[in-house]
């Protein structure tokens, strides 16, 4: 039952990063590449129409994590207190930017909210990558100092950084050179994803240019990916053991590699949506590979005193999990119905879509 819920939450989380990922990416593209007012408007709209239904996936993932793995939820949310609150603030700033930019036809007003949308999207992409880096690196569970826990073994509190930004100490911070690399991967991946979204959803004048941008970003991503795997080995020598022991898990990195390879052929694709499929593979492959490398652990411990948090020592009762599986299935069926209805009515390019039209 724990495994079921682990899989469900992993899928919901991946959905969140695929869906909200494109509007984070759209923000990054908007920040660096949208020049004319017409492009700015339509690119912001391609995120603005959808961000709130995408962010619901984050709320759903949070709720399910709370229900299925309450100890993990409690530990991680309080342990990453400051970065999480910063994420909340960025989410709010981004939403304000999207919702408010077109309310007044006044250039300075639009510029302010465009920047707010772009910069918060960029930082959110970076932060979500850093978060993933923290999860695979592990934290000082129990706040161990000189071999003695400061808190109960499953609680911790991470500073934003330690003095030398190194992941190799007993007290790693949220930001260090390893998590920064993962953060950059996240920014580049989501920028590619966002560019693909802009291409399929709008007729902006920069669509042609964006394909070149995707190609360049993809080269950078290849380099970053290789660097990150090497660094990951240094930070956690056991990182890839799961893949050696259970070779079928290699399916997940394969998704990532497929997406990465595919995007080098972005200029040759007959349909724009192929590019979006490739960047979706990147995101799904990246997240699932990270989770598969840890499984069944959810959060490794960097000390030997306290056990890592796993799906088994943080889960709710079996009864609760099985009841929830019942309503969960009903909920997901309903959800797919909504998505199909929405897709049928609101598919296609959005340039001319407006209130009541």
């Amino acid at each position: 039952m724990e495994i079921f819920w682990f899989l469900i939450i992993a899928v919901v989380l991946a959905m969140f990063f695929v869906l909200d990922g494109y509007d984070f990416g759209t923000g990054i593209i908007h920040l660096f590449f949208a020049k004319s007012e017409k492009d700015k408007e339509v690119i912001a709209k391609s995120a603005g129409l959808f961000w709130d239904s995408n962010e619901v996936w984050l709320v759903a993932a949070g709720g399910m994590l709370f229900m299925a793995f309450p100890t993990f939820y409690a530990s991680v949310f309080s342990g990453f207190y400051l970065p999480l609150i910063l994420v909340l603030w960025l989410i709010i700033f981004r939403a304000i930017g999207l919702e408010f930019r077109s309310q007044f036809n006044y250039q300075m007003w639009k510029d302010i909210w465009d920047k707010s949308f772009g910069v918060s999207s960029l930082l959110l992409a970076l932060f979500f990558g850093i978060a993933l880096g923290n999860i695979v690196r592990g934290v000082n569970l129990g706040g161990v100092k000189d071999g003695i826990s400061t808190y109960e073994g499953h609680f911790f509190f991470l500073p934003l950084w330690n003095s030398n930004f190194s992941p190799l100490t007993e007290h790693p911070g949220v930001i260090d050179w390893f998590t920064i690399i993962i953060g950059l991967i996240s920014v580049v991946t989501l920028a590619i994803h966002g560019a693909n979204w802009v291409i399929i959803k709008t007729n902006s004048s920069i669509n042609g240019k964006l394909k070149k941008v995707i190609f360049k970003l993809n080269c950078a991503l290849l380099v970053l990916t290789i660097v990150s795997v090497i660094c990951w080995q240094i930070v956690n020598p056991d990182a890839l053991n799961n893949f050696v022991e259970k070779p079928y898990l290699l399916f997940f990195p394969l998704l990532y590699i497929t997406g990465l390879t595919g995007l080098f052929f972005i200029h040759k694709f007959k349909k724009d949506s192929y590019g979006f499929v490739c960047s979706t593979l990147l995101i799904v492959g990246g997240i699932s590979s990270s989770l598969a490398s840890l499984f069944p652990i959810l959060l490794p411990s960097v000390n030997d005193v306290n056990e890592p948090l796993s799906i088994y020592n943080t889960a709710a009762s079996d009864y609760g999990l099985s009841v929830a599986l019942g309503w969960g299935i009903i909920g997901f069926i309903l959800l797919f119905v909504y998505m199909i209805v929405q897709k049928r009515i609101m598919g296609g390019k959005i340039d001319h879509m407006d209130y009541g039209h």
């Binding site: 239904s53 949310f77 009515i345």
Partner: protein, 443 residues
């Protein structure tokens, strides 16, 4: 220890108060929108469709604000109340996860369709999307109230040796005797807020001599919905809730009614007075004898226990705030019935649109249903103190063990600053939508 959790409590109180400005409007407003959309389907008068679409604009602004201020609420269970989340997540996680699954997805999917899809799908389907938005927003209320009902009156649980609460009976969460009255009271109160808002916009248009046709429609709808919901909020739902508090949380009941000493026979109802916590009495009290006993038990002479009956650590820790919240809520509720009753009378006599003083009053009444709703929640939350889960888990034992109060103060200050900006922008946007009026079409 109390000081350690002061900022956590303040941050939660501040963020939830700000958040609840928005859902209380959207829940009630969705009902009125569905009402207009239904009228349009039956009578085919364009005015009703314009009214529904206009209100949906205001709904959408509030919905967005509700989403972006709602995400911090869910996060705070984990960030600031980690021990509480760890211990009770197996139970309240159920209802909170169900809210995401059954209500947010529904609401957000169909809101987008309602706003952008009218021309793409025809009128009947458009009505249906509006109805689904209404259903989603009320389902959200249901799950949040189910969560809160469990904290007020825990049922269907078992406590393990390690202190964790595990679910023993899922359906008990929804048959909790606390839930139905609280849900109905809360939803009707949100109809009060939205109908007062609609009536106020109507009064504004009439006084301003602009969009008068819509002004009359909004005023009429607002007064009718407002009068009915104000009555139902007080009786039977308010009464039912008060009886539940008396039954399950007698210490909170004594504190909110301001009964310091247990009387031999029937208890008086306090109308005015200031709690004096040093001398344990009410200053400047105006009270009517025996009424409280009658209202609570339909027996003039039934004894009601006062605060002297309870140990200090079982009583709510902020009695004056609880007492004032309750009296403000009840007082405002009574005033609402009076004003809407008067407006309803003149509406019936077909004079309402010409009585300017009353229109001015209705226009400026807008903040008060918000205050009544929020103080109502304060009654529930302050009344539950010193517990998070009534009778079982104290608030001081639910806080995150690793987050220092310095960090919490830092984030609290950030939230205050950010929400000030958010509030300002919100007012500008709603003001703009009202200024443009129902006839306006964006291109």
């Amino acid at each position: 220890m109390e000081d350690m959790i002061f900022y956590d409590r303040l941050q939660f109180a501040f963020t939830i108060t700000f958040h609840y400005i928005f859902p209380q409007l959207t829940m009630g407003l969705s009902l009125i929108i569905v009402f207009y959309k239904g009228l349009y389907l039956r009578k085919k008068v364009e005015k009703y469709n314009d009214a529904a679409k206009f209100l949906m604009k205001i709904f959408a602004i509030n919905f967005t604000m509700g989403v972006i201020t709602g995400i911090p609420m869910e996060f705070q269970f984990g960030t600031n109340w980690a021990k509480f989340s760890e211990l009770t997540g197996g139970i309240i996680g159920q209802t909170l996860a169900m809210e995401g699954m059954f209500s947010f997805f529904l609401e957000s999917s169909f809101l987008a369709l309602f706003i952008f899809g009218e021309k793409l799908m025809g009128q009947k389907l458009h009505f249906l999307t509006g109805f689904l938005v209404f259903l989603g927003s009320w389902a959200s209320g249901w799950f949040i109230l189910a969560t809160n009902a469990w904290m007020q009156h825990p049922v269907g649980y078992e406590i393990l040796d390690n202190g964790k609460y595990v679910l023993e009976n899922f359906s008990a969460l929804f048959t909790n005797p606390w839930l139905l009255p609280a849900f109905l009271h809360n939803q009707l109160a949100s109809v009060v807020t939205s109908s007062f808002v609609v009536a106020s916009i109507g009064a504004f248009y009439i006084l301003r001599q602009k969009n008068i046709e819509y002004g009359k429609l909004f005023l009429k709808t607002g007064v009718i919905f407002g009068l009915i919901s104000s009555l139902l909020v007080a009786f039977p739902t308010g009464d039912w809730n008060a009886k539940n508090v008396a039954k399950y949380q007698p210490a909170s009941f004594a504190a909110m009614e301001g009964i310091f000493e247990t009387e031999e026979a029937g208890a008086e109802i306090v109308l005015v007075g200031q709690p004096n916590m040093v001398e344990k009495k009410l200053d400047n009290k105006i009270a009517v004898p025996n009424i409280l006993s009658f209202l609570t038990y339909q027996d003039w002479d039934k004894q009601i226990v006062g605060m002297d009956h309870f140990e200090e650590d079982e009583l709510p820790d902020n009695i004056p705030a609880l007492y004032y919240s309750y009296h403000i809520m009840v007082g405002l509720g009574t005033i609402f019935i009076g004003i809407m009753g008067l407006a309803g009378f003149f509406l019936w006599r077909k004079k309402l649109y010409t009585i300017k003083p009353l229109l001015w009053i209705i226009m400026f009444l807008v903040p008060f249903p918000y205050i009544a709703n929020i103080t109502g929640w304060y009654v529930a939350e302050l009344g539950r103190q010193p517990y998070l889960v009534y009778g079982l888990l104290k608030t001081v034992d639910g806080v995150s063990p690793t987050v220092s109060s310095g960090n919490t103060l830092f984030t609290l200050l950030g939230f205050v600053a950010l929400y000030m900006l958010l509030g300002l922008l919100f007012l500008v946007l709603v003001g703009k939508a009202i200024h443009q009026g129902p006839k306006h079409q964006t291109h």
